[in-house]
Subunit: 243 residues, 2 copies
């Protein structure tokens, strides 16, 4: 059997790994992935050879992984967080019909929405939406439509890729759209470098959010109309409390 | 230090546990939780005493856990999937100011949206919304508003609690609402008993979904307008493929 695991390693590697992810990484003869994520695994797997490509060369990376597996070497494509949330599970599966001899198995992990939420408190306790502000692969008009829809329907919202060198104004514009239907006092929070050295988090309000020190390693949380700050934590009520 | 861990154990217990969840459960002198979830941990932790309450007695369970920790016994509140997604992290944190001597730490886990997505393929590769169809704690009108908003904005949608004995018609009604703006051919999928004995999954279309054998242990996935079936898997393109 020729096997390719697509593995979510959690937000910071190490302590966020699931048992099945760890077993797959143990079984792998080759790792494939973005160099930073491979680096997170090196303390535990110092010797497994790794195939890497830089950012923006994702499809090439997927071909590399499928090709490696097709040669009979058990391969693990390594993704930060969850393999299926803005990760490599999708493109690997899209390309996999060209490698019918390879069995692809996706192993889920703790994505930044869940890892960040736990550090802030419980912002996603009720219905929520996850939106990436990166317009590299999605037209900006689609992103605006999703932000507007999520705000109008009173979802808690988790924002991935809030800024980058190329899109410094995206978070400010996203806040403007959310403010069309969410209160400026909506409880928000952000988490930086989840599970890694330099981890940081803070609560703020929606009107303050665009002025916060958010960078490309930050995940942002915007509450729904019931979200509250409780003892320094961001908590969206589930409803038990008022029953 | 008086400590309460609120721990997400992943969809099925065992293989979905993260390293930090496992360490917290090792450290715990007492477990607290819904009896089924405690049962999932028994093969690994046969002897840790457990405090349980039946379903609908969630607040009582939270008080129990906080009280246990306040007596100096390191306690772990056990949640299926992720503690912060329809779990116990929220109510525990809401009640925690009454137990200022207890330090609460939330440890995230793989929620059913991620665990189920991995089994189906990669349905959540782009922006997505998570909606519970249970109206025990959320008014049904709010649920309809969120479904409508998510469909209009072309999110992939993951549905929790699609049916129960008391709400057999909810999934059918949810499908009607999603069909107002999503195509009847939209690729959908469902996963039953993720990570547990009797696990099952299947792809279908949105027009077929309400006739599928979905029960209270099922998580349902509705694609966005680009979601495709690729080699028997449900895949939402990220956009690399067309760049």
């Amino acid at each position: 059997m020729k096997k390719l695991f697509v593995v979510g390693i959690g937000p910071g590697g190490g302590k966020g790994l699931t048992r099945e992810a760890e077993a797959a990484l143990d079984a792998a003869e080759v790792f494939c992935g973005y160099p930073v994520y491979i680096g997170l695994l090196r303390p535990m797997w110092p010797d497994t050879p790794a195939l890497t490509t830089p950012m923006t060369r994702e499809l090439e990376r997927c071909h590399m992984a499928l090709e490696s597996a097709s040669k009979g070497r058990t391969t693990a494509m390594v993704c930060s967080g969850d393999a299926g949330v803005y990760g490599m599970a999708g493109p690997v599966l899209e390309l996999s019909p060209r490698y019918p001899e390879v069995e692809v198995e996706v192993l889920p992990g703790v994505t930044a929405a869940l890892g960040g939420a736990a550090l802030l408190g419980a912002p996603l306790m009720n219905d929520f939406a996850v939106v990436s502000l990166s317009d590299l692969l999605t037209p900006w008009e689609t992103i605006e439509k999703r932000l507007r829809g999520a705000a109008l329907a009173d979802f808690s919202v988790c924002l991935y890729n809030p800024v980058s060198r190329r899109r410094a104004g995206h978070l400010r514009r996203a806040c403007e759209i959310l403010l069309e239907s969410k209160s400026p006092e909506t409880v928000c929070g952000w988490v930086k470098k989840i599970g890694r050295e330099g981890q940081e988090h803070r609560l703020c309000t929606l009107k303050e959010l665009s002025g916060e020190p958010v960078d490309m390693f930050t995940t942002v949380f915007v509450g729904n109309s019931s979200t509250r700050a409780v003892g320094g934590r961001m908590v969206t009520p589930r409803g038990y409390e008022t029953k």
